[in-house]
């Protein structure tokens, strides 16, 4: 009787070698190698059986490229290709008592932020396969040769959700231990196991020697078997033939090294044939497979792992939260994810380890916005995320698309909250911030908070979530309300740690609510909770530890009614003497000095004069700089640096004085590079320069299909649309886009630019030609002056 596959792979197990590179040897066309499952089944079976005879226990079906998009290029249906592949493999495997894994390769498309494919689209391509595979008789599924963790997650989820088959998965690592897309082996190990992978591994790449680093790392983080399926060294192409530089004997010896490193399951990828497998078996059969039991207490993004316990406290950046932030609110409404991204990158540079993402505000579809924000942020600001929402659908959808292991913020000690949060956390392996409160509110004393924490642990257990996943926030209350509030928090942290042995987190700025010079109190409190051993703090990462004596005394509850602290710290705001600052603002902008420009505006601006500062300081500076650029006295980097300085100064004024009064902007402009065009630097320059003249920019990104631009025009009713195209091969798409826009909205001016665009071309399609970012501003100013 054959063992269950998941049991079987705990021993020393051998996979097969290359399939594609073997088919090439038979001289058959291999562009769509899956077609051979139907047209040359005897050939496919011959390869399977060579491996089984050489010692392979497990064979992969010849279905690497089987997804709908690729199947559509053949004359067969996806179902026909997959079923034939599995049938062939099963027929061969049965002769030897071997196992058959349905082989699933990558989609061949790039997911956001590298390309345009969304997580859901990728999921669908895998789900279609899973539907066919689920009752086809395969012993399991292998997902292999993937470089992008998000694509791997989509595949694992599809096969786990649709089939009951065990899923093993491997990514292709470079010698650095990372994939092309920068995915670290650690992140892959944590994520794949959290989603229920039965084994994790590495395949393809530069050969067995080049795989060592990745395998070491996988083993270090594994509690499932680890597998290695490398190429026969580096492939070289000579006159249309592929040559590999490692022979079978050497390969076997190299595999011995990987077996010692802890890889229990071994096989070969491109360039390996049955001799390589036979050599591997000979070289490694005497090395017993070891059971992996390594649990890593960590969260991760695709590239970065943050271990609890390695750093204390872990800093969770709190800035992405629209409460009292009018600019962020506007950005959320406008789908301006670049603005949110810039907040994230800044916090990362300031020392945040994790990023809290909260888009909670009224009047939006929070689920849709949160999912988009996560997709935009995570690839670039590569820190693990804290998904902060109270909405169930938004939570589940956002955690699902989070490319790593995230923290959920938050759960409390009541059934409803538990029901909403724990199933999601369980499914995706998330950590959870647990608020020490219940449906009745925040307990007034430490005892009540500990009781709430105990209740949460019990609730979590019911859902199969262990307490190691919980991070307890004892909840900070203002010392201005009760001077003992600081001590209560410190006490709670101590007891949560010592009595319950759990992690703790603290959103601490609330402590200083209602008091002057809050940063001083927050800084002192940060130091105190850090000394008390708090696991994580949720703060603006610019906050550093401090020890102002009055603040410390206050926080220790020794300053009754905060009298001493207030006396020492109120009324001390000094207005610095300044002279002709408008000139300074103008100068700073021309020089591209961002922080100086903001400082100048901070010192000078008041409720009364801010609009004058905008006009005769900021805009004047921009105009003079623009003129210098046109005359060749300033260059592109200076022009953009000036624009950035202006933007920072303007943002300060908007946030402080204009706020939610929603002072109308000069006009809405949609920007995009046309379909097929993946170069967006030109468009991004136009955006950087234009945004600072007071226009509302809706940036649709790059490679945008005409229909999508039309949909955006319907949604935002813009005053102008700006399009960029760089190549002769994409200019037709610009023509199509302009025609589509003109049919529907003949009055909306379309401005076009890019390397291959000329004035004659623009005139011909009824668009306005702009040669560069500065010209674009002039065109807009002229267009809108007419209105």
């Amino acid at each position: 009787m054959k063992k269950e596959f998941t049991e079987f792979i705990k021993g020393r197990v051998y996979l097969d070698g290359g399939t594609g590179s073997e088919l090439v040897k038979y001289g058959v066309p291999t562009l769509h190698a899956e077609v051979l499952n139907i047209e040359r089944p005897e050939l496919v079976r011959e390869i399977h059986e060579k491996y089984l005879a050489a010692g392979s226990d497990v064979i992969y079906t010849n279905t690497f490229g089987c997804n709908r998009r690729k199947a559509d290029l053949t004359k067969y249906t996806l179902k026909e290709l997959i079923e034939a592949g599995i049938r062939n493999a099963k027929e061969s495997a049965e002769k030897y008592g071997g196992y058959v894994l349905y082989d699933c390769g990558p989609t061949g498309e790039l997911l956001y932020p590298y390309g345009r494919m969304s997580f859901e689209e990728a999921y669908c391509l895998f789900a279609e396969q899973a539907e066919i595979v689920k009752d086809s008789g395969a012993d399991g599924v292998v997902i292999e040769t993937v470089s992008d963790l998000q694509e791997m997650r989509a595949a694992i989820l599809a096969f786990k959700e649709i089939t009951n088959l065990p899923v093993i998965c491997s990514m292709t690592f470079e010698e650095t231990g990372r994939t092309f897309a920068g995915v670290s082996a650690e992140s892959f190990a944590l994520c794949a196991q959290a989603l229920g992978a039965a084994a994790i591994g590495a395949n393809c790449g530069t050969g067995a020697a080049g795989m060592k680093k990745a395998v070491d790392s996988l083993v270090r983080h594994a509690r499932v078997p680890v597998f290695a399926k490398p190429n026969a060294g580096l492939p070289r192409y000579e006159n249309g033939r592929t040559v590999y530089d490692v022979d079978a004997e050497t390969f076997g010896l190299q595999m011995r090294e990987l077996a010692f490193a802890g890889a229990g399951i071994l096989g070969g990828c491109c360039g390996t044939d049955e001799k390589y497998i036979a050599c591997t078996v000979r070289a490694t059969a005497d090395i017993p497979a070891v059971e992996n039991k390594n649990y890593t207490d960590a969260v991760c993004s695709y590239s970065r792992v943050v271990n609890f316990g390695e750093k204390q406290p872990i800093v969770i950046g709190e800035r992405v939260n629209p409460t009292n932030k009018p600019l962020l609110k506007q950005a959320i409404i406008d789908d301006n994810y670049d603005y949110i991204l810039s907040m994230c990158v800044e916090q990362a540079e300031q020392g945040a380890d994790l990023l809290d993402i909260n888009l909670g505000m009224t009047g939006i579809d929070e689920r849709e916005k949160l999912v988009s924000a996560v997709a935009h942020i995570q690839g670039v600001a590569d820190l693990p995320l804290v998904i902060d929402t109270s909405k169930k659908e938004a939570l589940e959808s956002a955690v699902r698309v989070t490319d790593g292991i995230c923290v959920i913020n938050s759960v409390s000690a009541d059934e409803k909250s538990a029901e909403k949060v724990f199933p999601v956390a369980k499914k995706y392996g998330s950590y959870i911030i647990a608020l020490c409160m219940d449906e009745k509110g925040i307990p007034s004393d430490t005892e009540g908070r500990i009781a709430a924490a105990k209740k949460i642990i019990a609730l979590a257990e019911k859902y199969g979530v262990g307490k190691e996943k919980l991070i307890f926030d004892p909840l900070t209350m203002a010392v201005s309300v009760d001077v003992s509030n600081g001590i209560k928090v410190l006490e709670s942290i101590k007891r949560l740690r010592s009595e319950l042995g759990v992690k703790t987190a603290l959103g601490l700025s609330n402590i200083s609510f209602g008091l002057p010079d809050r940063a001083k109190i927050n800084a002192a409190f940060l130091k105190m909770v850090t000394e008390e051993g708090v696991t994580a703090v949720i703060i603006n990462p610019v906050l550093k530890e401090g020890d102002d004596p009055a603040a410390v005394k206050l926080l220790k509850g020794e300053d009754e009614a905060c009298r001493e602290y207030i006396a020492l710290n109120s009324g001390k705001e000094i207005k610095r003497e300044t002279q002709s600052l408008k000139h300074d603002i103008c100068y700073c902008i021309k020089k591209g000095q961002t922080s100086e420009a903001v400082r100048a505006v901070k010192e000078e601006a008041t409720e009364e004069n801010y609009s004058e500062i905008i006009e005769s300081g900021i805009i004047k500076g921009l105009n003079e700089l623009g003129a210098m650029y046109e005359k060749g006295e300033a260059f592109l980097p200076q022009l953009i640096a000036g624009s950035e300085a202006a933007k920072a100064a303007l943002d300060y004024i908007k946030e402080k004085y204009i706020g939610e009064k929603g002072e109308s902007n000069k006009g809405t402009v949609i920007l995009a590079t046309v379909k097929g065009d993946v170069h967006d630097i030109g468009k991004n320059i136009v955006k950087a320069v234009t945004a600072n003249y007071g226009y509302r920019i809706i940036d649709l990104g790059k490679d945008v299909p005409p229909e999508e631009i039309l949909r955006a025009a319907e949604k935002y009713l813009p005053d102008a649309v700006g399009l960029s195209a760089l190549m002769t091969t994409t200019i037709d798409n610009m023509t199509d886009t302009v025609r589509l826009l003109k049919e529907r909205y003949p009055k909306i001016p379309v401005i076009v630019g890019g390397a291959v665009v000329t004035k004659t071309y623009a005139d011909g399609i009824g668009a306005i030609y702009s040669k560069d970012a500065q010209t674009n501003v002039k065109i807009l100013e002229k267009l809108f002056a007419k209105r």
Binding site: E109, Y237, E238, G240, A381, L636, Q638, I681, N684
Partner: protein
Amino acid sequence: MTKEAARYLGIKEVDEITAKYIEEAEKEASVIVPAYISACFTAVKEERGIKLEGTDIVLEGKLAENHFYGCKKIISVIATLGLKSEILLKKVFATNAAKAVVLDAVYTAKIEEFLDKTEQELSEKYGNITGRISCGYGDLDISVQKKLFDVTDGARIGVKINECYMLTPNKSVIALIGVK
């Protein structure tokens, strides 16, 4: 590399801000490790143009004819700065667009420098080689780019090509080099 980067930015005399940005951008770009993959084909003169043996690729037009005159072999090279370069550029763009523009120029200088080095390596291996040209230059049809991509297996170094023959990562190049 500073000079080249400035040239790609269209700057004749480097000012203080740009110099600072170039220095910072070069430091940022130092973590980028370029990669290349190559394939070598026997060149067969045909009526239509030069055929790469073992493929259905024919290089038509004057440019190919002149450039590869007397060449026995043609090497197809795909070089890239990798996806990490894209992410880094996006990251820098998020907080400092001016620096990002400079970084983009530094990237261009970097990939050209890498191609020069690759040519050097290839000349050591193959002997007398020509300079590099790319599809889209002169009358060399851009659509050949896709076939070259497939036979050179650009996917192996993480490069993708789309229906408009544009490459991702942006800083990737497909070049052709002749062996005399």
